[in-house]
Amino acid sequence: MADDETSSQGEDRLSRVLKQAVNDVNSLLPAEQNIVLAAETSLMGDGARLDSMGVINLIIAVEGGVEREYGVHISLMDRLIAAASSQTVTLGGVRDLLRAELGSQH
């Protein structure tokens, strides 16, 4: 039970980071280009809604959120750009990457 609670709290924190990052990026975009906070939202690659500036803004917002929430710096830029060369990067993919990174750091 204690483990479940810890896991749930961790997901809440991660969701908070992603939600804030999506809000930050949407505050820069016209309403019709806003991205949806959903795992399947495509960020880079096929069906991507963000242009390169949007991707940069999203990554910076996520990195900043992780620093504020977890007190650690995780560099996503190179890994996501590399990943985008071979696959579609989704918001869920970003969450998985963060989960793995944070798990390995704790």
Partner: protein, 572 residues
Amino acid sequence: MSAHRLRCLIIADFNAANLAGLMTNDLAPPLIEPVLAPYGQWMQVLLDASHACWSPRPDITLVWVRPGNAVACLKAAMDMRVVDYGQMAHEVDEYAALLLGAAQRTRFLLAPAWTATAQDQPICGVFAWNPERGAAHALARAKLRLQERIGASGTVFQLDADHWLMRAEMRASHNALWYLSKTPFGNDVFRAAVGDIKAAARGLLGEARKLLVLDLDDTLWGGILGDVGPEGIALGGHDARGEAFEAFQEALRSLLNRGILLGIVSKNDEQLALRAIAEHPAMKLRRDDFAGWRINWRDKAENVADLAAELNLGLQSVVFIDDNPVERDRLRSSLPEVLVPEWPSDPFLYRSALAALACFDTPVVTADDVSRSREYNVRRERDASRAKVANVEDWLLTLGTVVKVEAIGDANRVRALQLINKTNQMNLRTRRLTEAELVAWFGRPGCAGYCISVSDRFGDSGLTGFLGLRLENGIADITDYVISCRVLGRGVEESMVWLASTWAREAKANLVRAEYLATSKNAPCLDFWRRSGFRVEAADRIFVWPCETDFPRPRFVEVSAPPVGCFAGDIP
């Protein structure tokens, strides 16, 4: 507030897409439609008046060029090379000329003041202010010189970008954002910039708030006055809370010095409250500093509306501060035009909460602004004397009102412009003008502008009226009929119409014509014209007076210009 989106041309020496995005999505009035000048072409756009960016004419142009790009000597200073200050002055002057030239193609030009960014060499340490090569020293001198060159223009205004970086703290820039997108500032800087740009736009458009209404208990001082008495309230002294309230009052005083009116609406015993204000040793604001008050047990929304009406201000000019969330909610729901900011419960935060209200920004402050509170107090005395005289006309005769008429010129232009751009209610056409537009308009053949100053036995209200006239095809059109609410109801309105008709007759016009352009705020002006005696040519829109008939001058007003030939030399 303006309903349409203002067009803002952004000319920057960096990628300003994020700034434009935030500007588009910011819903605070006025709404802005940003247009980005082509990346990397700031100089070309500033130099080329025929560039497509300038059409349609932007309402606002934002020129944000970093110091090292605008002035080569500043790049040298940031690289710690010896600065040739003569050359730097020349380069700053050239940049100022660019801005002034560009300002001809826009209503207002805003330029964030130069500030070093994370991409510049760090400006820090004891060497920063070295007079030969210190970058901080050179930057400060350059900024000052630029302001000296553009400050008097009336159309170019610097914004305090250092403040934006300070507010953004560690998020003022991101290396990745710079290296990947050539955006030197983080979005927190841009958010602060959008707030200041909008505040400046509101001020320049005459939409800045003018009256700050304050609660008393736990707002202006700590504690409940009725419970603890004047000696028991937390204010000043060797007490952290008391110091916080005192500091808040000092901040309010600085607003007063900028021409913002202060008022009180409080549920309290009036005599006790006024005694505390008059006698408490730590009060930074005294009775004369308040333009008016409603200290009673009535509904606060009613009191705020009543006070605004007494001061002849629209509710859109009012800000209300109260520590009580219930009262704030009541005000918001009943008077939505009043700005009611969320207010911290901790008095330590009051001063910073006040500083964060970007609603009082005005580009200039005149002596009249600073003395306005006193003027309202004088008016209160005047109204008290009115109560002693049964007949209004008899009372008006006792005032000894003098209307002084002067042609628009260098000496009165700033105040006239401010009046034209701030006055909402007694404004026939609500024509807003920049200084350049005003000079150009009244330099045209057939056009004349007159500043009206009003005084009486109670005091001098200063420049409180403006009359613009244009003669064309035998018709004298009133292009501007603007009167401060402070002097209404004392014959000034009729005196200005008399002036218009006298001017028209001397100009050999057949008719004086007033065309009323309705706004959401100038209904009082229509009421006057309906009563003016002018013939209605189009209902509630066009009013005319035949020049063969003298328009009657109020007998209780002395106009300090000769009735015949008073416009000698001015007549087209």
